[in-house]
Structures are given as C-alpha cells and as structure tokens.
Symmetry: C2
Amino acid sequence: MSTNFVKNALGRMVPTSVNGKEQVPYMGVGKYKPTGRKYAPYIASCADYPADGNKIVPSLKEALIKSGLKDGMVISTHHHFRNGDLIANQIFDIAHELGVKDLVWVPSASFECHAPLIKYLEDGTIHHIEGSMNGSLGRFTSQGKMKGMGILRSHGGRYQSIQDGEVVIDIAVIAAPTADSFGNSTGDRGPAACGLLGFALADSQYAHKVIVTTDNLVPFPCIPWQIHGNYVDYVVLFDQVGIPEKIVSGTTEITKSPDRLLLAEMTSQFCDEAGIIKDGFSFQAGAGGTALSIGIYFADLLRERGMKARFARGGSNKYLVNMLEEGLVDYILDGQTFDLDGVRSMRENANHLNTSPFTSYNYHGKGNFSTMVDAVILGATEVDLNFNANVVTHSDGVLLHGIGGWQNCLFSKCTILPIPLFRDRIPVIRDEVTTICGPGELIDVIVTERGIAINPLRTDLIEKLKNSSLPIKTIQQLKDEAEAICGKPEKIEFTDEAVAVIKWVDGTVIDTVWKIK
Amino acid sequence: MSTNFVKNALGRMVPTSVNGKEQVPYMGVGKYKPTGRKYAPYIASCADYPADGNKIVPSLKEALIKSGLKDGMVISTHHHFRNGDLIANQIFDIAHELGVKDLVWVPSASFECHAPLIKYLEDGTIHHIEGSMNGSLGRFTSQGKMKGMGILRSHGGRYQSIQDGEVVIDIAVIAAPTADSFGNSTGDRGPAACGLLGFALADSQYAHKVIVTTDNLVPFPCIPWQIHGNYVDYVVLFDQVGIPEKIVSGTTEITKSPDRLLLAEMTSQFCDEAGIIKDGFSFQAGAGGTALSIGIYFADLLRERGMKARFARGGSNKYLVNMLEEGLVDYILDGQTFDLDGVRSMRENANHLNTSPFTSYNYHGKGNFSTMVDAVILGATEVDLNFNANVVTHSDGVLLHGIGGWQNCLFSKCTILPIPLFRDRIPVIRDEVTTICGPGELIDVIVTERGIAINPLRTDLIEKLKNSSLPIKTIQQLKDEAEAICGKPEKIEFTDEAVAVIKWVDGTVIDTVWKIK
C-alpha cells in the first residue's frame, strides 16, 4: 500500500487517502465544519412493492440476489446480539458461494463470533471492514493481512458517515427478534429479544436495499416499529437470528473485583464532591465492568438523600433497571441493552426508551443527547499526559476493541475514566498512547486506585475538590508512581504500514493503526 | 397568467408549469416512476448548536430572523390544532412587520382560523399557498385572487413532495403541546394536547431551519419525542400554541342525521356481506360524519360475533377509542386525533399508536400502510359514472376542502364512499365531476340511500353481493334516479384561468381548479 501521510492537529501521522477515498485529517474538537449535503437515497415507489405489504422472500440468498449483490458492494449488519449474532456470517457464506468478491463489510460492531469471516478476508470475498475489529479480526488486521484498510468509527461516527454519504451502503441486513411481513421490526420482544435496533437505523434510512431477517413473524403491525417497514425491501424468515443470552459479555458485566469496585466507589465520591450528584442530574456508564458498577454507588447516594436522577443513558443492565423501577431515575435513555433485564424493562416500561446513534451521538445533527449528560464514566486502555486516551489498541499495539459510543460520550459535561494504574504490570498512563481515540481536552478526570488526576483545563473541578479527602494528584504524579512500581514501558515498534484508521466523530482521521512487527 | 396546458391520462387539462416549476401530468395509477434521489438537506454540526442543548430564543420574531427569513422563502406549518391553531397567523404578522414579501405557505392543512391571512395574500406578503384551501381561503383562490397558483396535495403527497424535493422548505414552524429546550416535542400531553405531530415529520426532517413553539416546556427529555430535537434549530415559548377543543370540527364529528346513519349502516352491511368483516380485519374511516359513524356498526358486529379487528386506522375519535378499550380492535394506528378522547387514548394506551404520512401514506416509499387496510370509508362531494371522485370543490365550482389523506386511502383493498344521492337537490353522481381528485379505478363502491353501486372492475364484489338484500344498482341507475328527482344539473361555467392544481400521490397533476365566473 503506498499512501501519503500528513500530521493532524494532534501530531499524529494519518493517511490522506483510505481505500481510494480522500480523507480529512483531524483538525481539533469542533473545528471541521461540513459544508455539503446529506446522502440522498434513491426515491422508491409503492408501485414496485407488493400491494398486500408482504415482502417475504424464501431465503437470504434470494433476498441478496434480488438486492443485486455483486462485486465491490458495501454490506452492513448490526451488533444488537453482540457475540450471539447468527446472521452476518451467513451473508458472506452466500456471497462466497456466489463467487462475489471485494465486498466491504460495515458492521456496527464485530465480535469473536465473526472470526469465521477471516477466511473470506483471506480469499477476497471481503476486501475490508469498516467497523470495530475486536479479538481475532483485530489481530488479523494488526498483522497487515486485510486487503483494504480498516476504518473504525464510533457509534455516532457510523451514523454520521452513513448520513453524510462517506459510507454508501448497498445492502443492509437487519436481524430482527420480531417483525411483520412489511418489514416493521422490533428488538424488544420475541424468542431472541435483544432490546433495541437503534444501530440499524441509519442503515434502514440510507441503504439502497434493506433486508430484514426474523425468527418471529407477527401479523401487521409489528409494534413498536423500531425499524420502519417503509424502508425495507425484503423480509426473510429464519429459525433463529441470534442468541440473546450472548448479549452479556465481558464488557457488559458488573465487575466483582474489589480493586475495580474501589475505582467505582472513588468515582462516585468524586462526582459527589464535585457537586454532580444532585436532584435531576444525569449520567451514563459505558461498557466495562468498572464503569457499569458505578450505578450501584450512585443509587446508594440518591436513595440516602431522597433525590432522583432525571435520566441515565444506557447500555442498560439490571442495576440501572433497578434504579428505574425503584424510582431513583425518571428515564433510561438506552442505546443498547447489556442484559436481559434491560430487554425486559425496555419492553415493559414506558420510561425505558430506545434511543439511536442519531438521537444520542450523531455529531452532524442539530445537537445530540451526549452533551446534556452531567457525568459519563468510561474505560480506556491507555491515557497520556495530555489526557488523550486510547480504547482500540492494547499496549502491545494490537487492535482488539471497537470504539463503541466512547468518543461520542466524551462530549458530556464531565468525562471520567476510572482505570487501574497498571494492567499486568504495564502502566496505563503513558507519555504517548499507542492510538489516540479521544482528545485530552474532552477528558476531565482519571480515577486510579492510587489517585485521581483532574485535567488542568477543568479549573472548576480542581477548585471544588481542593479540600477533598480523595487522593487528588497530577497525571504526571500518577505516571511516575506507576513507573516506580513497574518500570518505564518500552515503546512498541511498528512497521510503517497503516492497517486501519480511527475516525473522529466528524469524519476526520484522528489516528492510524500500524501493522505490528 | 399565461400557461400551457396538456391533457392528462384522465382527459383533464392540466398546466405544464406551476409557479415556474415544470409539472408531470397524471399518467395513471402506478404509471409514473420516479428516477431521482430524495432531497438532501444540508449537513449540520453540533459545533454550531448550544452544548447544553438549550435552543430557546426569546421570541418567534427572533427565531425567524435567526432562521434567515427573507423574500420568497417557503414556510411550513401543520394543522394538528385544526381550527384552533394560534401560531401560523403570527408567522405572517411578523413577516409583514419585517416587510418580507412573496412567501410560499405550505401548511399541512388550512382552516377558517387562517382567514386573516387573506390580507397578506392581497398585499404580497404571501405569494401562494401549497396545501388545502378551505372555506374563505378556498373562495379567495377560486375567485382568482391569489398571486401564484395554489397546489393541493394529499397528506401522503405532501410528505412525498418534501421528501422528493418538489417542495423545499426554508423554515418549518411546529406548534408543540409539550417540548424540551432541545426541541424534542410531543402532541399527546400538555395543556394544549392535540394528539400527535406526524404531519410535521417531513418538515422536521427536510426543512433547512426548524422552529418549535410550545406552551409547555419540560426538562429534557420530553417523552415521547414525536419530533426529534436533533432536527430542531430553535425553541420559542408561548402562553398558548393552540386550542385543543377546536380539533373537533364539522368533519370530525359523528353524524346525528338519520339519513347519514342509514348510509353508515348500509355500508357496514355491505362490508359484512362482502366478507370483509372477519377476525383480524382492518378498516379506516376518514373525516366526515357518515364515515366516522361506521365504527359504531362495525363494533356491534364484532361484539356480536366475538371477533376483533387487528387494527383501525384513525382519525381517532371516542368511538374508535371505545373499541380499543373494549378489546374489539388490537391497535389504533392513528394519523390525527379527531377528539380529546383520541388524545387521551394515544397518551395512555400503548396500543394506540401515532403514525405519520411517512408510514401510512407516502407513495414514494418502499410500500406504505394504506394498501394493507381491508376497507376504507370516505366522503366525496361528487362522483362520476367512471367512479372518479371529487373532494375539493363543490358543485358550484368553488374550492372549499382539502384532500387530507383521502387520495392515499384509495389504495386500500376496498374503498367505499357512502354519500347522499343529492345535496340541496343537486345530484352528487354526475357525468363528470368538477375536479378529479381520485381515479375511478381505485374507488370500489358507492353507497347511497337509494342504492349501492359496485365498480364493474370489482367482479369479485359483484359476485359476492349477487344475492344480497341490499339495493345493488349500477352507477348509471343511481344517477338516473337522482336526476329523475332533481333534474339534470347545469354544467358550471368557468373561466380559462387555472387557480390551483390537484396533485396525485406521486406528484403528477391530476386536475386543475379553474377560476369561477
């Protein structure tokens, strides 16, 4: 791959072109201003759709053929089943069987269950992936084995890229726990209920052809219609579209580790002393056991003081659902259910709302929900002295995680990263992170078991915490302490070959992932 | 106005250009196939919107100025308050005060409460109206006094025209019974609760600037968000945005006339004998007292037989709500609440759903709900021997009604028009209707007090009713009977000046409204 690189506003070398498309280097938060128009899908006509509303075709293969599947097309799927997805791999089995080549796969996220797709990345069925490359797919990418360059986007960035026409989806395949023959679909009920289908919203709105697959067909109307049948071309029936129990994964379970619970407790105390926890406040805890545990501590504080939160953003889990049911929070604005209690609550409780990357995260909208959240608690694999943080690569340089909503959440009023000071004796605070996913100016607080660092930009927080009993330190102090224990980590050696890029929420390129040696 | 005319597929003379824009003459049902792309709004950026989500500006005037109000702009409003709208007139008061000229007003419907706008049509503040021209505005238009040519569209046609970019809205003003400062809005609660805001959906999605006005501000999040704040630019607070009691009007009340109730009863019996009323069937009754009364008869039949309907499309009223609450229908798919029982039910009952012209009516979607309705009961001012029907002009040639969802509903599996054989001694069945709004091939049955005519195209219905006790006749027979009583009506004399056009659901021109002599 011969590619030109330029230095972006964070000093990172990023390619000027990715898979043949020109790129805008990251310019700073809020600096890049789009001037164009949204992507304009073709106008359809009811005259071309069945008058009885029945869009069922006998098989996914037939639906893909009717959708015009051919070389080079962009195929999208979503990840509401997380590691329990049963549909995505079948699409590419069919493509392979039909001899179709050079497809671009745009999942809203990929998981270990998609490792079988490596054979199609190897044989040219799939050219590259735009979406998270977790686990085996990440390692494959980091080893420079993917034909094209990977593109990682946040959930909001994925909506933005589809809305803005940076990604033009030819065929979207949506796995729906319940649907009618018209294509109205919901995730909140049915044997494979997974919660909501918000990640497929952009795909339904903008893709040229939309295929709904379901294992639970109901008579029209399928209520609620999280996905509008008016955007759907074909409906295909399956025995099973996903394994709902598998939506619970390592990153969606509450931690049991006492060290991590300490981080959650310190974070909660910090929020309290910073004046964030008050009647009508709002919060979001991202994936990752520590972050998710925070709800337990918030709940205790609210209960104790007879206060309630206005809303909690989810990833919902049973702890958040308990808060809603106990009346400690007015609303859950949910982007993704993290367990089956979340699914049940969304189905049964009118105050547990399904949101989408459009409402919550799209940076190229007229505002979004993320900026209205008082405190957001997220994870990170590394943080640097400027508070820049990494969530996609580990300190060995290997691409192992997706971005999820992480970048989008940074826009909250207070972004807190509770992280251990070191993992496997490797310090988490570094001179420079392997991959910058979020600019330090948006990251306000780092909470570690040995101290809390407040971003110097947040003089208001520093002032509020100046008499705190919490161990407030500088980030340099935290780094020094870690290195005193573990030693200074060696710099990873990469090749000069770019294997993937990290998009910022506005579609610009914030960093590059390099092939490992 | 010098305009060229061509004869369309129904033999009607229609202008080739309207207000400077080229037109496609009506080509037949399903014959015109759009080839272009949907309208592409400008890409916004969160960087240009307040980080705290608060979009409130002090006045409508300021919001309009910030929106760039200037000569020639297209301004849209909606009609959820029907004759109780308090916002639309204020927009043009402000425009007049600012000296802005030649605006195009695109209401989803207009009512008598908008008669004060005639002065702005006269002084050049408003150039023309695209939307229904009822009552005084209709008469004004029919007299040839409007500067531009009026354009009437169905509810679905309005969505289609905005989606397809035939109408490009510069500023949409939405009156919301409840909203938050981010612009999330709902119609189902608040002191001025009117039900739903579906008619403003297209406006919110496609308008360049969107202003929400409300008299009931709630803390974020406003639930449910019938209108997404992510589409909204400004929020303005008012003491009162609408008078909800006025959503009940002449066309939304059940009839008390024994003649009309007979028509409803005959219609119900017809549906029954035609095999339409069965477990799981669906129906819609349009505006107009006779049509709305049909629910009462359907309810009796269902109760008697222990059956239930799968869904009823509304215009909801208390009779439909009673059916839902009694369990005689699974769902109300509501496009517009016709009384305050409808509003309450929508707010309280999860099975009373708000729909939009996008889901229900847009002909340029991948199907819509209208074709899945088993029977639809509508009104008409005139019907001709070919079953073509008129809903916009009276037999004196004056434009007095909007199209509403009427055209869209014609796509149901059985379209029935219960109409009196004559009104004020003027026969309703004519050789030719004054204005064709719907092609006869989509109109299946005419029910009059003296007989029922089945469209000869519906041989299946003719067969089913062949031994009926109902007075089945030909439409010619019905016409002859009416003329035997009232005499043959004189042909109306028009000038050769076109004052408005009627769009078909696909954006083509189905007929012309002529200036009266």
